[in-house]
């Protein structure tokens, strides 16, 4: 048995879904505030509601005592408590913001209110995507996570996957001149973000590779040339970044759709790679001790105990 890894796939998926929801909301609100993009990006706001809700639900499902989840709101000094508040608020704000697209609702024409909700949504979703990186980065026991890199990396990645989903939504739901302009802007924006993401990613991995903490150096080496090299080079760098970069640059509708799909795959792979790489430094002799423990016979022993006199 190896050093325990308390967080597994539900947390990785949660980081992806909440990051994605946050990224989508960032694009919706920013497009509204800075480009006056009317109703074009409002369906995405509902997508953000659903994705963040599913992600938060996964986090509850992952708890040891899911029905006690409300206690997560108890301690405002803890990173996770702050995150829980922000995720809950984002679910509400993104839903309210989305309702501005329906003309039958009385608040539909209130432009000022809509802008206000957009500002709140933008600040909140930026905080959420940064939080998804701060949560692992705050763990000083895990040298590969600890430090300023993950919040930056997750923020860039979240905006990038948010743009990808918004591109797909605009492609599916809208048509006309405005949609075409939006698609062009989204592609261009994602070219910039993927480039920034590549730079941040390689600064992170190459710095960790020469880290003084052995688990961080081992994890970086596992990405670059070890047991995770396929996931890293093919899944994340290839399908998730380089290929989309080229496809967005080509700029035809079909290549941009494929590019957006690739960016999403890269976003998932990135978060799984991170969560499955956060080992702590073992104590002297600990790995050998754990390797000697009998495992897998718990069920038999329990049955044996139950059958006894």
């Amino acid at each position: 048995m190896k050093i325990e890894r308390a967080w597994g796939w539900p947390v990785a998926l949660e980081l992806f879904l909440t990051g994605l929801g946050g990224g989508i909301m960032i694009v919706s609100a920013a497009a509204d505030l800075f480009f006056g993009a009317d109703n074009l990006f409002l369906p995405g706001s509902f997508a953000a509601t659903v994705l963040v809700a599913i992600g938060s639900g996964l986090l509850i499902f992952e708890l040891g005592r899911p029905f006690q989840f409300h206690r997560v709101f108890s301690r405002e000094k803890a990173v996770m408590t702050v995150g829980a508040y922000m995720l809950s608020l984002l679910i509400g704000v993104s839903f309210v913001y989305g309702t501005f697209m329906f003309s039958f609702l009385p608040w539909h024409p209130l432009e000022g209110l809509r802008q206000l909700v957009a500002v709140i949504g933008l600040l909140l979703s930026m905080s959420v995507v940064i939080y998804t990186g701060v949560l692992p980065a705050s763990m000083k026991a895990r040298p590969f996570w600890h430090g300023p890199a993950l919040p930056v990396l997750f923020m860039v990645s979240a905006i990038s996957i948010g743009i990808a989903v918004q591109y797909l939504l605009v492609q599916a739901l809208a048509s006309g001149n405005e949609a075409a302009v939006a698609e062009g802007l989204l592609s261009a924006a994602n070219i910039v973000l993927i480039t920034v993401g590549l730079i941040v990613l390689f600064i992170y991995v190459l710095t960790m590779r020469v880290s003084a903490a052995p688990p961080a150096a081992e994890a970086a080496n596992a990405w670059l040339k070890g047991r995770q090299k396929l996931a890293f080079w093919v899944g994340l760098v290839g399908i998730g970044m380089i290929v989309p970069l080229v496809l967005y640059a080509v700029g035809i509708t079909i290549t941009c759709i494929l590019a957006s799909a690739g960016v999403l795959i890269g976003g998932i792979v990135l978060r799984f790679l991170i969560i499955y790489s956060g080992d702590r430094t073992p104590l002297p002799g600990e790995a050998e001790f754990l390797a000697k423990l009998p495992r897998g016979d718990e069920e038999f022993l329990r049955a044996w105990e139950g059958a006894g006199p």
């Binding site: 308390a6 708890l63 040891g64 899911p66 206690r71 997560v72 996770m80 430094t281 104590l283």
Partner: protein, 186 residues
């Protein structure tokens, strides 16, 4: 005020795992759960000067416990006497503290869904007794006491002997000190 701490003299520890057993029996831990463990380092060196030693590891009851600062429910808390405890009623099993602990002192109890750890046997300290692991150590390798009491044995060992913390670079200020065999540590 008291500040509970433990000094473990690795020159005396023979790696018999009695402390682990005493802890598991006394605290009635479920199968496969360790609040204390004993690792073995070595054999190191070259013939004929080979050597190895054992490191018992309880919870270090750090002065700056990362498991407490990351807890979103307030279940993990530190008492004024330094002991870090998990309130089983408040814990929701989010495992943030397991992720935060640099020493692997915390485990999830799969039956309860809560995180549990070494308590320094606070129920025994309250009765003026020693923790199970200390009273079970027939080699007297474990010395438990009050670090605020300048006349105590732990105070003397920490301040006059070469008692070291494990992985102090993480910045948690563990309150379990080790006297290593040889000089310094490997």
């Amino acid at each position: 005020m008291s500040r509970w701490a433990m000094v473990i003299d690795l020159r005396r520890c023979i790696g018999c795992h009695s402390c682990t057993v005493a802890c598991q029996v006394g605290n009635e831990l479920p199968l496969g759960m360790f609040w204390n463990m004993v690792t073995t380092v070595g054999p190191n060196g070259r013939y004929p000067t080979l050597g190895y030693y054992h490191i018992p590891r309880p919870c270090f009851h750090c002065d700056d416990p990362p498991c407490v600062s990351c807890c979103p429910t307030g279940a993990s808390s530190q008492r004024a006497d330094g002991i870090v405890l998990v309130d089983q009623d408040k814990c929701i099993g989010c495992k943030a503290c397991i992720t935060a602990c640099p020493y692997g002192a915390r485990t999830l109890n799969p039956d309860l869904g809560t995180v549990q750890k070494c308590t320094f046997c606070e129920h025994l300290i309250g009765e003026n007794k020693e923790p199970y692991c200390v009273s079970a150590c027939h080699q007297r390798a474990r010395i438990f006491g009050d670090l605020d009491d300048t006349g105590s044995e732990v105070y003397r060992l920490v301040h006059e002997e070469n008692a070291l913390q494990i992985m102090p670079e993480v910045g948690t200020d563990p309150h379990c000190y080790y006297i290593f065999p040889h000089r310094g540590r490997t």
